[in-house]
């Protein structure tokens, strides 16, 4: 599948989904004017990707989802959770997944956000200081 790259702006994160390397990154600040509109291409890409994998493509290797978010608004939270749901589906397909949650030193809030999302999706995250 073609790589998905959505460039970063002052209010929306960079999205880089690379099916070849099995790396999926969400980086920056997330407070887009319309969160649904912003995240829709990413969710559609993941839907198509999982559909392809479920038809018998090679599922070997580790699928790494990396969040390097400094802030995300409440509207974005729903869609970040939707991305996590796709990774849950990957896991259920038998894929090895890894979720890395990056944080700045002293930012207990983004750490807590990560912990809450990890509990909500029931997948352990790796917490990594930037």
């Amino acid at each position: 599948m073609k790589q998905l790259i959505i460039p970063k702006t002052d209010f929306a994160p960079r999205i880089n989904f690379d099916s070849t390397n099995k790396t999926f990154e969400v980086t920056g600040v997330s407070r887009p004017e319309n969160a649904m509109q912003f995240f829709e291409p990413a969710l559609n890409w993941l839907e198509a990707y999982i559909d392809e994998l479920s038809k018998g493509s090679n599922v070997e290797g580790t699928y790494i989802l990396t969040f390097r978010l400094t802030y995300f608004n409440s509207a974005s939270a729903r869609f970040i959770f939707r991305i996590l749901e796709y990774f849950k589906r990957l896991q259920l397909l038998g894929c090895q997944i890894q979720i890395d949650w990056y944080y700045d030193k002293g930012d207990d809030i983004i750490i807590e956000d990560g912990e809450d999302l990890s509990k909500a999706i029931d997948i352990p995250f790796n917490f990594v200081q930037k």
Binding site: R31, E33, N73, S74, A77, I109, D116, A120
Partner: protein
Amino acid sequence: MNQKEVVINFCGYLKYETIGDILSDLKEQISKYNLKVVIHKKIVTVTIESLENMYKYYLNVKDPRISNNSRPPIFMVEKTENEFLIHTGNTLFKKDVPVLVERLEIINNRTKDELKELYKNIITDGQFSMKGGAGLGFIEMAKMSGHKLDFYFEELDDDVSYFNLAVKITLN
């Protein structure tokens, strides 16, 4: 005497881009206080959620009965020795007040853990007793604050009220 200092004051209708401008100004103003990362983040989070609520709400109420009203939206941050107070004000239809009151009272009667649970329930399956995206924003503000959301309404005329909200971020 607990003196108050106005950190930033905005009055008027918001374009989406204005949110970024206000945020930049605010960050510049609060940089002189050498705040801990967590306090800074709380102020920024409440600011963004407040301004986005004001912006989204305005998009929903482009009605001459409101837009001709002389009371524009306001956003203000004040600082005292021990806390920051983030104030917002905007018009709304009087008929929408009871629903908003109920929503805010539900939030104000929740512990931090209960608010987290409520937040999680909404983002995972969208269930909440009220319609509209603003519910998550108020929950997020309450989580950041750790205090009750302080609100009151003023009747401007037969159809229109003004919603005043203050969110407290303590420094300790």
